[in-house]
């Protein structure tokens, strides 16, 4: 209470002095001196110790986390964050399809992992492995194996870049500085052959569209196959190991009506203990035509014949 009384009395007394002498007498009292002294000390302390700045600063530090992240530096931080995320996304995507390409066992897996405009980089060795697994006709469409051998032997081929475009796949054989040594293209129709399904969803050949009119017993098929020349057999079934890997027995074989980029689907109906399924293999059209001629009892004639799949040939 005493603290409050002092200013009250002071104010009351200030209203009352009658002259300057009385005023001076009242001002020059101990409590006024004390008050002035305290004020001067505070000002002096501020000048020397900056306690006001420290106090405000300390208060602001304590409330820092409650305040908004605004201003140039935060804006820059946000931009940096969003820019880094965008780049991270880009790099991750690229890495993902690069990884997929690196781990791919064949060209169709690589092609399947790319969208138009995307590309994948492979080592020269990896591409050579993959090249060997491509059906002969398609491989030759890309580059002759002898030409590839020549490039490999020159010693400058270090990497291969495969770029998918809307009209096919472009393959660049690169030297270490990314200069193109050879460049070739696989048209989209040929790509379609590569990426074609290998297993039909149906269980029997009758259910696979395009096969109904040419279904033969396995025995008849293999008899005809045996009488073909070796290169014709290779043209018909470029990768026989795929059939050898299959467990179960081939019961019937069908030939599709459709020719796509010089290839024809051959369906093998396989029966195992628990299920039946159809495996599809793409044979070259001229070889399929030769087989069909045999199956239908016609003279095989010349290879350069026309439209092999015309006409009708019941089982």
């Amino acid at each position: 209470m005493g603290g409050l009384l002092v200013p009250c009395r002071l104010m009351e007394e200030l209203t009352e002095p009658k002259d300057l002498r009385e005023w001076a007498a009242r001002v020059l009292t101990l409590h006024v001196f004390v008050l002035a002294g305290v004020m001067l000390a505070m000002i002096f302390a501020e000048l020397k110790l900056h306690w006001v700045e420290r106090a405000i600063g300390a208060y602001l530090v304590s409330t820092n986390s409650d305040r908004p992240e605004s201003g140039a530096i935060w804006e820059k931080g946000r931009k940096a964050q969003s820019a880094r995320s965008a780049i991270e996304q880009l790099a991750n995507n690229r890495e993902a399809y690069q990884r997929m390409a690196r781990n791919a066992g064949n060209l169709s897996e690589i092609v399947g992992s790319l969208t138009p405009g995307q590309g994948a980089m492979l080592s020269a060795e990896h591409f050579r492995e993959i090249y060997q697994k491509i059906p002969q006709g398609l491989a030759a469409e890309m580059i002759s194996p002898f030409e590839l051998l020549r490039v490999a032997n020159e010693g400058r081929w270090s990497r291969t870049y495969l770029e998918k475009s809307s009209d096919g796949l472009v393959v660049y054989l690169l030297e270490p500085n990314n200069h193109v040594l050879r460049q070739f293209k696989l048209a989209s129709a040929s790509l379609a052959i590569l990426t074609r399904r290998t297993e039909a969803s149906s269980q029997t050949l009758e259910d696979v569209p395009g096969f109904q009119s040419r279904i033969y017993s396995a025995e008849r098929f293999f008899t005809a196959l045996t009488s073909l020349a070796e290169d014709e057999r290779r043209g018909l079934i470029p990768q026989p190991e795929r059939l050898l890997e299959v467990s179960g027995q081939i019961t019937r074989v069908g030939i599709s009506d459709e020719v796509l980029a010089g290839f024809v689907d051959i369906g093998f109906e396989i029966r195992s203990a628990s299920q039946r399924r159809v495996l599809l293999i793409q044979g070259q059209d001229w070889a399929v035509w030769r087989l069909r001629s045999l199956l239908e009892g016609k003279s095989p004639g010349s290879r350069a014949g026309k439209g092999p799949l015309e006409g009708h040939s019941p089982q």
Binding site: G57, I73, S82
Partner: protein, 677 residues
């Protein structure tokens, strides 16, 4: 009570009341301001954490840093610089707590009572707060907010941390942020090695980086340096004598523009390309690593060639001296060097001085190429009209009717006509009347088709005069298109970015250098062989006179009224285009009114650059296709010269074309060197 006393009493109460209101107001303002006061990041060094985008030359040398900061701790900054910056910006920095009360009161007084005079009192901490959070609009509210943030920074961080953050983020101009980068840009040395004079110069720049830019306004920068030194002496950081000696000391500023690609036309091109592909924010904030095709040595030589060439042209044209760094009224130049077998841009200069004008004449300037376009015409004529280098045409006045328009009657530069001559001579002497006859025979679309196949992308008007270069192109296009001829018809798109990586080195994209055959190799070689004669005996023979003797081919170009002068030429490995002219439709004429041709204005720049760029290189000949035979013919009749007769002109003919020559043609197999000269 006296009247005086009553008045005093009223004033006293009023004063108390006002003081109270002011205190309450301040209190309210404080808490209102506090609500949207920005949060201060922890730690403060976050301001320099953004990884910079780094741009590298083909040699692996880093040529530019975008965003981010090249931060150095205080112990790696020259003490002279720290003294200079504190003496100039805030000499009580080590004593106050964010607010220099005495200076603030003084500034308040000056600003209030001395009209027209503005005095600042921002401490280093306040400047740091402003740079980190606020705009540069001067308002009392912003100043108050800035002060509060400064108080918080002072309460939270040590003086060293504050000074560290400050010196690593201030702008010094010329794209330099932070003392380390500034030291490298202006003096080519680390900040720790700055001496007193250099420190004082740098410390004066942040006040107005453009005004005091020592590269452009050296005198002003020296005046500012003097102010900084006198401040240092005033606060006792150095003695008056030391300050005087530092002022007199010679400053070894780096020469901008010549060897320093930072802030160059090439980097502008790279940045623009990156921003189009990735967006501005990614380029400036994501910390990319960009590997370019630039060869710093070639770039330096290109800059030298352009500077030296323009200086000589200034003298020749009696061009006015620059006023205040403004080169208006003086000619400009552009030079682009492209690697022929890849399209990689190895050097690119887009003007006289990037600091003066950022307009990139190497890529943006669609100027008329004049006769520089004729090689495309000759290629089209050989391919479509079955002509060859020894076909004879008559140099005569020609008028070509154009449906719906006045007839086109091109004139020769020389003004006279020389009668019959073979096409090789017509090209090397740049005869317009024969070019007009050729385009009349082939049609403009064939010429445009040839230019497109070489890589010209600019719009080309399908009119006969297109063959004489009346549609604008850029030096980059010309260098790139002539590279297609240099490689015997393999076209490579020009490029300048080899690879882009993220900050951790993961590849985002890389350039596959692939070319495609767009020209017939034999016809392309015939055109190249004709273009060799341009240097050896034609309009570009100044190149040989200036001491460039390696196998090369090229073509001069000069437009009507001498507005544009070109020389584009190539060796088997490097294709270089040089353009010279004024930015605004002025003619390149000397004081006597004589116009400067491409051979006189542009070819010397090309020669100087190529002399240095190919120094020490072995003689490399252009690859001669297997069906090419060389034959000596009479330049007027196109008939083979007799073995015992006077020497004729060497011409390259395809085997099938040899049959049209008489049996004593003297046709011979290409030599091992392949040259026909």
């Amino acid at each position: 009570m006296t009247v005086w006393l009553r008045r005093f009493r009223s004033a006293f109460y009023l004063g108390l009341l006002l003081l109270g209101v002011a205190a309450a107001g301040l209190w309210i303002v404080f808490f209102v301001t506090l609500r949207d006061l920005p949060q201060v990041p922890e730690p403060l060094s976050r301001i320099i954490e953004t990884p910079p985008t780094e741009i590298y030359a083909a040699s692996g040398e880093r040529i530019m840093l975008i965003g981010g900061r090249e931060a150095v701790p205080l112990n790696r900054v020259s003490p002279f610089f720290l003294q200079a910056v504190t003496a100039t910006e805030d000499h009580r920095f080590w004593d106050h707590r964010g607010l220099d009360l005495l200076r603030t009161v003084k500034a308040f007084w000056v600003n209030l009572f001395h009209s027209g005079k503005v005095e600042g009192a921002s401490t280093i901490t306040q400047q740091l707060a402003k740079n980190l959070f606020f705009t540069f609009h001067r308002t009392y509210q912003r100043k108050f907010r800035e002060l509060l943030v400064a108080l918080q920074i002072e309460a939270r961080y040590s003086k060293n941390e504050i000074l560290d953050a400050y010196v690593n983020q201030i702008a010094f101009g010329v794209g330099a942020h932070g003392v380390e980068q500034a030291s490298q840009v202006f003096f080519g040395k680390p900040a720790l090695q700055l001496n007193l004079a250099e420190s004082a110069l740098l410390a004066g720049l942040p006040k107005s980086p453009t005004r005091y830019n020592p590269f452009r306004n050296f005198e002003r920068a020296k005046e500012r340096q003097k102010v900084v030194l006198s401040r240092m002496a005033a606060v006792g950081a150095v003695s008056r004598e030391e300050a005087a000696r530092a002022y007199e000391a010679r400053l070894n500023l780096r020469v901008p523009g010549r060897t320093e690609p930072a802030g160059s036309y090439f980097l502008d091109l790279v940045l623009k390309d990156l921003e189009e592909r990735y967006g501005t924010d990614v380029v400036h904030h994501a910390g990319l690593r960009v590997f370019t095709t630039l060869d710093p040595q070639l770039q330096a030589w290109a800059a030298d060639a352009v500077q030296n060439g323009l200086e000589k042209l200034d003298q020749l044209l009696k061009a006015p001296a620059p006023v205040g760094g403004d080169s208006a009224g003086r000619p400009q130049a552009a030079l682009v060097a492209v690697e022929a077998h890849s399209g990689a841009v190895r050097a690119l200069i887009g003007g006289r001085d990037y600091g003066e004008t950022e307009y990139n004449r190497a890529v943006q300037n669609n100027r008329l190429p004049g006769s520089g376009f004729k090689p495309f015409l000759y290629y089209a004529a050989f391919e479509k009209a079955g002509l060859n280098p020894v076909s004879v045409f008559v140099d005569r006045k020609v008028t070509i009717p154009i449906p719906g328009q006045p007839p086109w009657a091109p004139r020769n530069f020389s003004g006279d006509y020389q009668g019959p001559m073979i096409l090789k001579r017509a090209l090397s002497h740049s005869v317009n009347s024969i070019a007009a006859q050729l385009v009349e025979r082939t049609g403009a679309p064939a010429v445009i088709d040839a230019a497109r196949r070489c890589g010209i992308k600019s719009p080309l008007a399908a009119v006969p005069s297109v063959a004489l270069g009346t549609s604008g192109v850029s030096p980059l296009e010309m260098a790139s298109a002539f590279a297609t001829l240099a490689t015997g018809g393999m076209q490579h798109d020009a490029y300048w970015i080899r690879r882009v990586e993220d900050s951790s080195g993961r590849i985002l994209e890389e350039r596959i250098v692939s070319g495609r055959r767009t020209l017939d190799a034999s016809i392309a070689f015939q055109v190249v062989d004709m273009m060799r004669a341009v240097l050896d005996e034609g309009t570009g023979n100044v190149i040989r006179q200036l001491g460039f003797h390696l196998p090369a081919a090229g073509k001069t170009g000069t437009t009507d009224e001498f507005n544009d002068a070109w020389f584009t030429g190539f060796t088997p490995t490097l294709s270089v285009s040089v353009w010279v002219g004024f930015d605004r439709g002025m003619s390149l004429r000397d004081p006597q009114g004589r116009g400067l041709t491409g051979g006189r204005a542009a070819a010397p720049l090309w020669a100087e650059f190529m002399r240095k760029a190919t120094e020490g290189e072995p003689q490399r000949e252009f690859t001669v296709p297997s069906d090419i035979r060389f034959v000596q013919v009479n330049p007027t009749t196109g008939q083979p010269v007799l073995p015992w007769g006077p020497r004729g002109v060497d011409a390259a003919l395809r085997e099938v074309q040899m049959q049209s020559l008489t049996p004593f043609s003297g046709g011979r197999e290409p030599s091992l060197a392949g040259g026909g000269q």
